[in-house]
């Protein structure tokens, strides 16, 4: 039974990270109907930016204040990159065929991924131990400080995002734009601004996710964006892409499933089982767990 609860904790931790990253996919898809393939690489980039801020700007100080500063600075840098990405790669293609934008996103992904490699090198870098290695035992289940932090901060951010989307004027505008861009524009909503806001939020949440990946797994590589990005993307699809609570749910389900497969079956088959789960879910519910049925436009 211990292994069950241990994997539950591990699964919730990675699930929280997947969910954070998945929000970036789902919000962009919701408004622009575009799979932002570069998002995963932005997440990877965030880990490297955080590493550099720590070693070069912070002078390797490891206080609580420094950790918070690293998170804020990294989120700011990556949010700026997110806006830049939207301006350069997606805005010129907004009226172009769907697949052109997909290829543009793939191109952006290649640029970021290989840009990271050219700046920081192809080898694995070790992320600093910013969070002290403390852990507690609850009846045989070990929970570390970093796991608490990941779950806590992710929950906090997700609740904040949910409130922002549901309760504020800007949130209402985002919801309107995701239902119908043209109608939203007619109602006086500045869709360009909405898209910029979405990229800022998505990139910042992704940046937090990237730093968590660095803190949790310690080793970071230039091409890890595809791996985590794909998982987060699967989480977003699983929950019903474009649906914010769906992305959170999808992330948690994916993390738990992944941890239990690794714990009970085999870690070398974990990816395969994850995608089989996705395929089964999509066969049963073609638009994801919380996705709405989209009527065919005639």
């Amino acid at each position: 039974m211990d292994i069950f609860f241990q994997q539950l904790v591990n699964g919730l931790t990675i699930g929280a990270m997947f969910a954070l990253i998945a929000l970036g996919y789902t919000m962009v898809y919701g408004v622009m109907k575009l799979i932002n393939f570069a998002h995963g690489d932005m997440v990877a980039g965030a880990a490297f930016v955080g590493l550099t801020i720590y070693t070069h700007i912070m002078g390797e100080a490891a206080s609580l204040l420094a950790v918070i500063a690293i998170f804020l600075l990294t989120a700011a840098v990556v949010a700026f990159l997110g806006i830049l990405l939207e301006r350069a790669a997606y805005r010129p293609l907004r009226n172009a065929p769907r697949l052109s934008a997909v290829v543009s996103a793939l191109g952006a992904s290649l640029i970021i991924q290989n840009g990271i490699m050219l700046v920081w090198g192809p080898q694995m870098r070790i992320f600093p131990e910013l969070i002290p290695q403390v852990s507690w035992e609850f009846g045989g289940v070990i929970v570390s400080l970093i796991q608490f932090l990941i779950m806590g901060v992710s929950l906090l951010l997700m609740v904040a995002l949910y409130l922002f989307i549901e309760k504020t004027r800007m949130g209402a505008a985002i919801r309107a734009a995701s239902i119908d861009q043209d109608a939203a524009r007619l109602m006086g909503i500045n869709v360009d601004r909405i898209i910029a806001v979405i990229f800022i939020i998505g990139a910042s949440l992704g940046a937090v996710g990237g730093l968590f990946i660095g803190l949790y797994y310690r080793g970071i590589t230039f091409n890890m964006g595809w791996q985590y990005g794909l998982y987060a993307f699967v989480a977003a699809i699983m929950g019903g892409i474009g649906n914010i609570p769906g992305a959170m749910l999808g992330g948690i389900i994916l993390g738990l499933f992944n941890a239990f497969i690794a714990g009970y079956v085999s870690s070398t088959w974990a990816d395969a089982f994850t995608f089989i789960l996705l395929i089964v879910i999509l066969i049963v519910r073609p638009t994801g767990i919380l996705g709405e049925r989209v009527a065919e436009k005639v």
Binding site: Y29, I35, A88, A89, P92, L93, N95, A96, P97, R98, L99, S100, A101, V102, V103, S104, L106, G107, A108, S109, L110, I111, I112, Q113, N114, G115, M117, L118, W226, L230, F233, V234, I237, I241, T268, W269, D271, A272, F275, I276, L278, I279, L282, I283, P286, T287, V294, E296, V298
Partner: protein, 319 residues
Amino acid sequence: MKHSDYYGYALFFLALVILPSFLDSRWQAVATTFIIFTIVALSQDVVLGKSGMFNMGQALFFGLGAYTSAICNTKLGMPLLASVPLAIIIPAFFGIILAGPIIHLRGDYLLVVTIGFNIVFVQALQNNLLGLTGGPNGIFGIDTLQIPGVDSGSQAAVYYICLAALVMVLMMLKNLETSKAGRALHYFREDPLAAESIGINTRAYKIFAFALGAGIAGLAGTLYANQYSAVSPEAFDFVQSVLFFSIVIVGGSSVPGIVLGVFVMFVLPEIFRDFATWRYFIFGFAMIFTMILRPCGIWPATYGKVPAYILKGKQHGKK
């Protein structure tokens, strides 16, 4: 086809036929690889370009063909030539059973599921499924294609075998375009609902397109196994699928565009060896710029009407 097209193709094939006499065997090998990847990209085009289904897992069928040949040859002792029909039929069969349950999914969902299939496939290879696939190292020591009456040991011979396959595939695709099935694919890409209402069984034809694309990719897989006499999982990774996907869209879903795309993606890096570490960085920019400047691809397909997914939200009535 216009007259200029005929001349273009004639010149192109003439160039391909005389090419090996100007190249040493290393560059002949590069040219062979170029032809193999062109066949895979053409097979991707059957599903993505001609039928408008977002398939991002074509490397799966490519790999399935390659592994079928490799296993038949090294484990069952079949000559490589005898494995060719199997290497076409097995991927085509998998194309049917994999596409069957998912074919009704909307575009982006289909794209993710095909990525998923590709990842499951590669993981199965890496985990040495049924003890047949050789795990992460793959399978080594595959024989070469022995065609009776032909000395098929040299690199030039391997090249000509691939060229013959390419010509066959192109002729088949040309026939498809004007056949009943080809027109059905064309119509449902233009407008699935209208196609359905005039009595085209879109579901059957979608699965047919998947099977055809898979079969052609499987053939390319055999050629790959023959060329390298080894197969390993990472050659059929979904990143490879992403490249084929991009080539078809950047090329504009036409034969010249696809050939150009394969050349840029797979041959240029060979020519500029030093540029290898920079290549994807630069390709990324090239992909974005191409799409911004030419949203329908470098060389858009012009047969019939422009594909519906390319027209979506854009110009009306413009060819």
